[in-house]
Amino acid sequence: MTRPLIGAAAPHFELPDTRGRAHRPGDYRGRWLLLVFHRHLH
């Protein structure tokens, strides 16, 4: 695993949301994007 560093290109992913819609970081190019990685849901 390579730990992302400040200034590095954001790693690609394609993940579905709870409604089945796929999201990729590249979809948000031109805007700021905050990724919030959750611990287990409680």
């Binding site: 905050l34 990685f37 611990r39 849901l41």
Partner: protein, 131 residues
Amino acid sequence: LRARAEEIERLGISVLVLTFESRAMAERYARETELEWPLLIDASRAAYRDYGMRRGAAWEIWNPVWWGRYIELMVRGRRLHAPTGDVYQLGGDVLIDPVGRIALHRVERGPADRPPVEHLLEPVRREASHG
């Protein structure tokens, strides 16, 4: 973070929340919390790994310093469920700038270690003030 959702939108920041838990658990969480942002399901935790979200050690996870945070959540009316996923997986926050580069990267130090929202917004405000 959610209390500042309108401000975050005004700043031009999109938010995606990621979980590694099951679709059923994610759907229940999104419904019960009326989450305003998409909740992405990363069952393999590939994105967690690629973005450097590590698993915590036992002393980090079960540290009494975090218990007060859970009590605070319950006092605020949050209904907490017994964990079904990997309790050792830590979360964190990554802010990506408009050209796709990582501007902020933060991994939690423990289960209830959430940063001040202002810390997450700081790179955006800094860029705006220079722009």
